[in-house]
């Protein structure tokens, strides 16, 4: 018999740790908030026209970055309209700030100044207030989706396993998403569309992990009737631990490489996945299973 690690006996410590993390996350979320990407918040779109067809996004970024904090995270893309002369280039600069009429004048001035100083012939073609590309999409139906998803998943797990396991899975899921959001808030990483995708991926990941553990508990409950639920849960976790670690480790390798080396826009996504993988693994071992015990065990 292989030596068993006592996961279950130390559950109080881990539940406390999780509670502390969740409280920290909530405090940060409510006090510091999120650094939301411009696709959610909207902001301003400035289109500049430059009399040089070979001008690049990077050159534009260099010129506008010193103009203010909002420009460091600006989305800069080249745009072209039908009927534009061939010897110009146009760039759309989107920042997450909405300017008052007075500020608008100041920013216009500053950009024109910066262009002049950099010896670039160009000017602002238009200056508008813009909505976010994903703002509406997130607003619409998101809450309904979350509630319906919770109910459907709970229902499925109740049918396939039992209600208690369903509650365990949902609590673990909320736990993972909350803590990951907390890390986003604390670190100041921007929540952009890929970051939201990371959070959604995390949902799949967390559920998958929890269900594998629960599946083993279900099997062992049948096999070892009469044994204490603590010992069954503990044995089950020990039996699946290799799988849990291997799966998490391999996913972790991919997202960690992305986190280290991928470009700026992808960083928030990779960050979310890195945190999510760790928290998701931890919660399936230390959070979902103890809930099962607490519930099943007669007090």
């Amino acid at each position: 018999m292989k030596k068993q690690i006592d996961f279950v006996g130390k559950r109080r410590i881990f539940i406390t740790l999780s509670l502390v993390l969740i409280i920290l996350s909530l405090v940060s979320i409510f006090s510091k908030g999120f650094n939301l990407g411009v696709e959610f918040t909207g902001g301003s779109e400035i289109i500049i026209r430059i009399e040089d067809p070979n001008f690049t996004e990077a050159q534009v970024r260099k010129i506008v970055t010193p103009l203010g904090e909002e420009f460091t995270m600006a989305r800069i893309t080249r745009v072209k309209s039908l009927g534009d002369p061939p010897n110009i280039s146009k760039f759309s600069i989107v920042v997450s700030k909405i300017y008052e009429a007075k500020e608008k004048g100041r920013v216009t001035e500053a950009i024109n100044d910066a262009l002049r100083k950099a010896n670039v012939k160009g000017e602002i073609a238009s200056f508008s207030e813009t909505g976010g590309t994903a703002a509406e999409e997130i607003k619409r139906g998101t809450w309904t989706a979350i509630i319906v998803a919770t109910i459907v998943i709970l229902l499925y797990i109740t049918i396939r396993f039992n209600f208690v396991f369903g509650v365990g899975a949902i609590v673990a899921l909320i736990h993972d998403v909350m803590i990951t959001l907390g890390f986003f808030s604390l670190s100041g990483y921007e929540i952009n569309v890929p970051a939201v995708a990371a959070l959604l991926t995390l949902i799949g990941y967390s559920l998958n992990d929890t269900i594998v553990v629960c599946d083993r508990i279900r099997e062992n409950m049948k096999r070892y009737r009469g044994r204490s639920i603590e010992s069954i849960v503990n044995q089950s976790i020990n039996e699946v631990i290799v799988r849990t670690i291997n799966t998490s480790l391999t996913t972790f390798m991919v997202v960690f490489m992305l986190f280290l080396f991928a470009g700026k826009v992808i960083k928030p996504f990779a960050f979310g996945m890195v945190i999510g993988t760790i928290v998701g693994t931890y919660s399936s071992l230390y959070i979902a299973a103890p809930i099962v015990i607490r519930w099943v065990k007669p007090r």
Binding site: K80, S128, A134, T251, V254
Partner: protein, 471 residues
């Protein structure tokens, strides 16, 4: 084994189809390894697309112009989603007290094609038909032109090729105008009245328009048995084209109406689609059309792709190091699933964006995971002293339930995201579902075939050997 022969056939057939979808020559050829990706449609963030800006012409006197812009947004979003362009972006833009909508569509190579996707930019209204003509061109015939002037009406071409003289103000009354009403639903249905055949269209107006519609139908109603005067027809006009003209045979009090006319199924479907999509609450005027470059520069894409590939290589090495021959099978399964997924993306014309790639990474996770679950089971079976082939069969039998349960929950979550989400969230849900289905197939079919093939090479764990020899 017979099971293996079927598995081999399915596995080969699926991957051949995937490669056909990937390599089918239809688009500009890439060279070298990039060829694999040339049939995959890429999103705005990776490849850019068409960019069209519309001015939203909100009529004067509208109480809440921003609500109108919101409604326009919703109509366009639904149209693009219905056409499969979930990855197109739409945003509201405000400049000098005017509202604009900027539409960016990936994979639209020319702006004309993009405009077609966006669809009708005009508004839909109901109007009274005063006259019609088949032969004469009312633009050239002075008698008809003056007739139009007399009634303050205009001649419009119909979908059926006839010309119709229509007037927005029904019976000339200002309170009988129904412009861009919100249409809650419009569906084709079978005409069930005795003696009739073909299809009809049922539609329902939003409550706030029901009262006006009731008054209009009261004004124009012609009992079915009475003689039909030519100037009492009701027309549905969209984009200045008379889409349909017919008589009102009863007063409609609640906004629920049906249009009958012995339509064929296709005609009924088209008319229903016009009613549904025509609900733009304001006219759109194109301000500019052009292109937008990818948001992610080439350097970012290259760096990320490289990082992803290195991560994948690490995974491949780790699996072999840990599971030996079974690890090789897992690696093959991973590669198989990746190409399968790319093939489905190419065949389904699904647009790949950064969030979509996130879905693919989860797929890598679930594929490895499925294999690991199976291997750990097989190892357990081997430790209990079973011979390799039996251990493989037992391992699969017992892990199938686990894998199905774990993946079905993810698929359920994906389906719900798809149903309630719009735009890019929907796109993400699609990749997620395809990926998870693919990994389930690979785990349960491909890996089993491979393991059975390589069964002879699987090492029996030491514990089992020791127990065997001490016996």
């Amino acid at each position: 084994m017979r099971g293996d022969r079927i598995r081999l056939f399915v596995v080969l057939a699926v991957i051949v189809l995937a490669f056909i979808a990937l390599l089918w020559p239809q688009r500009k050829p890439y060279s070298g390894i990039g060829r694999i990706f040339s049939n995959i449609h890429l999103g705005l963030d990776i490849k850019g697309g068409a960019r069209i800006e519309y001015l939203v012409k909100v009529e004067e006197g509208v109480e809440n112009p921003s609500d109108v812009v919101d409604d326009v947004w919703t109509v366009l979003r639904n149209r693009l989603d219905a056409a499969g362009y979930t990855e197109a972006t739409l945003r509201k833009v405000f400049r000098e007290d005017k509202s604009y909508i900027v539409v960016e569509i990936p994979e639209a190579t020319d702006t004309v094609q993009a405009e077609k996707l966006i669809g009708s930019t005009g508004i839909l209204y109901f109007a009274q038909v005063l006259d019609d003509t088949q032969e004469k061109d009312p633009m050239k015939d002075p008698a008809l032109t003056s007739e139009a002037r007399r009634y303050k009406a205009e001649w419009l071409k119909g979908r059926d090729g006839k010309w119709y003289l229509v007037r927005k103000e029904i019976l000339g009354r200002k309170d009988l105008v129904l412009v861009s009403p919100k249409i809650v639903s419009a569906v084709p249905a079978v005409d069930t009245r005795p003696g009739r055949y073909g299809y009809k269209v049922n539609f329902e107006l939003a409550k706030e328009y029901a009262n006006v519609f009731k008054k209009i139908t009261q004004a124009l109603v012609v009992p079915e048995t009475a003689a039909a005067p030519p100037n009492k027809r009701l027309a549905i006009v969209l984009d200045n084209i008379v889409q349909f003209a017919g008589y009102v045979i009863s007063v409609i009090p609640d906004g629920r109406a049906e249009i009958t006319g012995n339509f064929s199924l296709q005609e009924a479907k088209d008319l229903a689609a016009i009613l549904r999509s025509g609900a733009l609450p304001a006219k759109l005027v194109k301000v500019s059309a052009g292109w937008v470059a990818p948001l992610l520069g080439k350097d970012i894409i290259d760096a990320s792709l490289k990082a992803g590939i290195w991560g994948l290589i690490l995974v491949l090495i780790y699996m072999v190091a840990y599971y030996r021959i079974m690890g090789v099978v897992a690696d093959l399964a991973l590669l198989y699933n990746t190409f399968l997924l790319l093939g489905v993306l190419a065949a389904g014309r699904i647009i790949l964006t950064l969030p979509g790639i996130a879905g693919i990474i989860l797929t890598i996770g679930t594929t490895v995971d499925g294999n690991v679950i199976i291997y750990e089971r097989i190892k357990e079976e081997l430790r209990s002293g079973k011979p390799v082939k039996t251990a493989i069969a037992a391992g699969f039998d017992r892990s199938t339930v686990t894998i199905v349960d774990a993946n079905v929950t993810t698929i359920l979550a994906g389906l719900i995201l798809y149903y309630f989400g719009t735009g890019t969230i929907r796109g993400f849900a699609i990749t997620l579902i395809i990926g998870v289905l693919g990994s389930m197939f690979v785990n349960l079919v491909f890996s089993r075939l491979m393991l059975n093939t390589f069964a002879g090479l699987i090492k029996i764990p030491r514990e089992a050997v020791e127990r065997g020899s001490s016996r």
